[in-house]
Amino acid sequence: MPIIINLDRMLEERGMKSNELAEIVGITTANLSILKTGKARAIRFSTLEAICQALDCQPGDILEYVLD
C-alpha cells in the first residue's frame, strides 16, 4: 500500500513505548501493531486524533504517501 505509517519513528523521537501509546490512545497493543506494520486497511479519525494528541504531532507526521 502506498500509505506508510511512521509510528515507529515518532515513538522513537518522543521516547515512548508502543504499549504506553496503546494505553493512552485506548486501543489494544495488537491493534497498534497492525497499524505499525502497515496491515491496517483503515484508520478511524478518532484513533488518529488520539494518536496525534498523545504524540503531540500532526496526522502528516504519522501518515506518508509514497508512490509505488
Binding site: 486501543i27 491493534n31 497498534l32 497492525i34 497499524l35 491496517a40 486497511r41 483503515a42 484508520i43 484513533t47
Partner: protein, 189 residues
C-alpha cells in the same frame, strides 16, 4: 461467544440433523436389501415396484396373495442385474451427496449460532452445496429400469437442483462480500 437463543436456528438444526439420520438409515436399509437380494432373490418373489412414470415417487411394495403378472407391476425377481446395480449405486450417490450437502448447511447454521456468520468457511460451504446440487441434478436425472419385459433408460436434467445450485452460488458470493467487509472491519484501527 454464542448467540442468544434463536429458536428458528435451533429448529432448523434439529430438522437437518434428523434429515441426515434418515438419509443414513435409508443408505443402510438399501444396502442390506441390495446384499440380501444377491443372496436370496426368491425371498423377493412377490416384491414389486409400479412402472415408473416421470416425477412419480418410486415405492417398493410387497404383493400379498397370489402373485399375478400385472404389466403395471415390475417384479424385483425380474430385475436385470446391470440395471439393479446401476439403480443401487445411483440411489446411494443421491443419498451420499444429499447427506454431504445437508452437512454443509448444518455447518453454516452452526457458524451463525457461534457468531462466525461471515467466516471464510461459509463461502466454501455454499460453493460445495452448489456443486453437490449440480451433481444431483445430473444424477437424479439418469435412470435405467430393466425388468426383462420393461426396459426404459432415460436422461433428463432436474431444474429444481439447478436452481438450488444457482441460489447456493449466489449465497456464496454474498457471504464472500460479507467476509471481505468483516476482514476490513477487523483491520480498521
Amino acid at each position: 461467544m454464542t448467540m442468544r437463543k434463536n429458536n428458528l436456528l435451533r429448529v432448523a438444526s434439529a430438522v437437518f440433523k434428523i434429515c441426515n439420520f434418515v438419509l443414513l438409515f435409508a443408505a443402510v436399509a438399501l444396502t442390506i436389501i441390495f446384499i440380501h437380494l444377491q443372496i436370496d432373490r426368491e425371498f423377493y418373489a412377490d416384491w414389486y415396484i409400479n412402472k415408473p412414470v416421470a416425477n412419480e415417487t418410486i415405492t417398493l411394495k410387497k404383493a400379498y396373495g397370489e402373485v399375478e403378472d400385472d404389466p403395471a407391476k415390475l417384479y424385483v425377481k425380474n430385475w436385470n442385474k446391470a440395471s439393479l446395480y446401476f439403480t443401487y449405486f445411483k440411489f446411494m450417490g443421491v443419498i451420499g451427496i444429499t447427506f454431504f450437502a445437508v452437512s454443509e448447511f448444518l455447518k453454516v447454521i452452526h457458524s451463525v449460532r457461534v457468531r462466525k456468520t461471515f467466516g471464510r468457511q461459509n463461502v466454501v460451504s455454499f460453493r460445495r452445496i452448489g456443486i453437490y446440487s449440480i451433481v444431483l441434478s445430473f444424477l437424479s436425472g439418469v435412470s435405467d429400469w430393466d425388468f426383462g419385459n420393461h426396459h426404459v433408460s432415460s436422461v433428463h436434467l432436474d431444474f429444481t437442483y439447478l436452481i438450488i445450485a444457482l441460489l447456493a452460488f449466489i449465497f456464496a458470493e454474498i457471504f464472500k462480500e460479507g467476509n471481505q467487509l468483516m476482514e476490513e472491519n477487523k483491520l480498521t484501527v
